[in-house]
Symmetry: C2
């Protein structure tokens, strides 16, 4: 039987066991497992990795526990601004959107950009006009609204503080569950030998100035290439952009001959740590090897290889 | 004396000698030389590479001959949408903006993002609010207006055609001077051994849907790292994003041990050509070696090393 495999993440950051109730932990793990199985089902039936990662990310977007799609955090002016990107390792085609709202599944819009436009990256109102043309599903503000996220905005505003979801400096007042994660993603290998990666985010609470993180940036937050690997990142986006993290993993494999594990270790635990870039990533190579490194306290993550054991984890000690 | 060097570009594309009058050619070469000397003056006086590339790109933005700042092309709804990015090879800090208008010098806004915000990438109205806060110089629509650019929009609309400034398919009707170039940029090495890169663009005529090209993407259109090189790209942006062109040059040097020349040749004349990605780039390494490869008909370009001979070129045969 040909190998197939999938890994997903629901964000990395200061996720501390003592602040996460057993019940909340179980909700997250349930969300991760359901997502994993949705992608896995496509792969085990001989479907494509691009379908698997889109489906998995849609599930995470639809789950209000995660900061993407429904459940996205609020910007300074009380809006949700969503970013997403997707890349197909088979043909190096890619699609990405930034600064959109009221699109139920940003990752599906990114896929439409990839497959039904001559562009890679669309932004703001223009991206939404394209979504309308493509008949993507829209949803009203209420659909995206989650009280806890709004409370976070109010608190952040009172403190005149941006919540960088993955701030390197722990801010105790924001240690309540869910405040520190920021992005979701999936990577997969299908039985046809094709890799794919997808990433989606709701940004960071109280952000201003139309800030764009790494999630919609091909090469930084997302990259896939059958010759090397597929990668989806989560973390303090500014550092991930400056380090071109996702493509760096690929280059270390292609040009320096590192294994996926060695490349992930060098980028996440050495290069990013050196510049103070907190976060993590999920990565898969053409043989179905999976790595899920992070240099933060925790990362919501799950993986499964060729119908084998299901792994779900949140904290470091679960590795 | 320590080495210093600078290279600039004013866009690559289908620039054919037969369609460019001697007078127009001279205007472009004059603009390139003035720009080069403005950056060179800073370097020869012991200034920094980041000041030199910002100054050079500002000059190109101010020159209506080039599609950046004043002289930018028009989007489908008759607006100018400007993108820019800058990176400092000394500390790997970077700044970028997309989808802005009425900012006289987008590259200076990108530099402000790099130096006066905790972010790397700002977009649209948010980026403009930040510009206001930083007291950047604004300019009215009339300042940016160039009749020829507007005529191009009217013609493109009549043909229901987007003018990809660097379309791989030559469209004879758009071969009049100036229609095919799209981006400006500069790279420099200063006497302190620091590299920097900057890129700015007015996008493409009749573009819709808030399309973002490679120019504001760190890793794709712009990259700088003292350990390897500084790069500014110009071309069919979608291909440059998918190929993470600027960082690819750096990785080929750092991980595979290629020279700047070998890395540029591999990316521009082999990898990009293979996927149909038309365009070029300028690049400089830590020793002051400069490469200005392009796989299109021409590229507006100029360079000077340590006060030596000034080179300006437009067509292939001038190399």
């Amino acid at each position: 039987m040909k190998q197939f495999a999938i890994a997903i993440h629901g964000g990395a950051g200061t996720i501390v066991r003592s602040t996460l109730s057993r019940e909340t932990e179980m909700s997250y793990k349930k969300g991760l497992e359901e997502t994993l199985l949705a992608g896995d089902k496509i792969l085990s039936a001989g479907g494509t990795s691009i379908d698997a990662v889109e489906t998995a990310v849609k599930k995470l977007e639809d789950n209000p526990l995660f900061n993407a799609g429904r459940g996205a955090v609020f910007t300074n002016d009380g809006k949700n601004e969503l970013d997403a990107s997707i890349m197909n390792g088979k043909n190096l085609m890619a699609g990405a959107v930034t600064g959109i709202n009221n699109i139920k599944n940003p990752i599906s819009l990114a896929r439409n950009v990839m497959e039904n436009s001559e562009h890679v990256f669309l932004s703001g109102l223009g991206a939404m006009a394209f979504a309308e043309k493509m008949k993507l599903e829209f949803a009203p503000d209420e659909y995206f609204f989650v009280q806890e996220r709004y409370d976070q905005l109010i608190e952040a505003k009172e403190n005149d503080q941006i919540i960088l979801d993955h701030s390197g400096k722990p801010k105790p007042q924001f240690h309540f569950p869910g405040s520190k994660k920021g992005t979701v993603g999936a990577v997969a290998l299908d039985v046809h030998g094709n890799l794919a990666a997808a990433t989606s985010t709701g940004g960071m609470t109280n952000k201003k100035f139309g800030r764009v993180g790494d999630s919609p940036i091909i090469g930084a937050g997302t990259y896939a290439n059958n010759a090397t690997c597929a990668v989806s990142c989560t973390g303090h986006g500014e550092f991930f952009i400056r380090s071109v993290v996702a493509y760096d993993i690929s280059c270390l494999m292609e040009y320096k001959g590192l294994s996926l594990k060695e490349a992930c270790d060098m980028v996440v635990n050495q290069k990013l740590v050196k510049i103070g870039g907190e976060g993590g990533l999920i990565a898969i190579d053409a043989k179905g090897n999976i790595e899920m490194p992070f240099n933060s306290e925790g990362m919501y993550r799950a993986m499964r290889t060729s119908g084998g054991e299901i792994f779900t984890g949140i904290f470091k000690e679960e590795n």
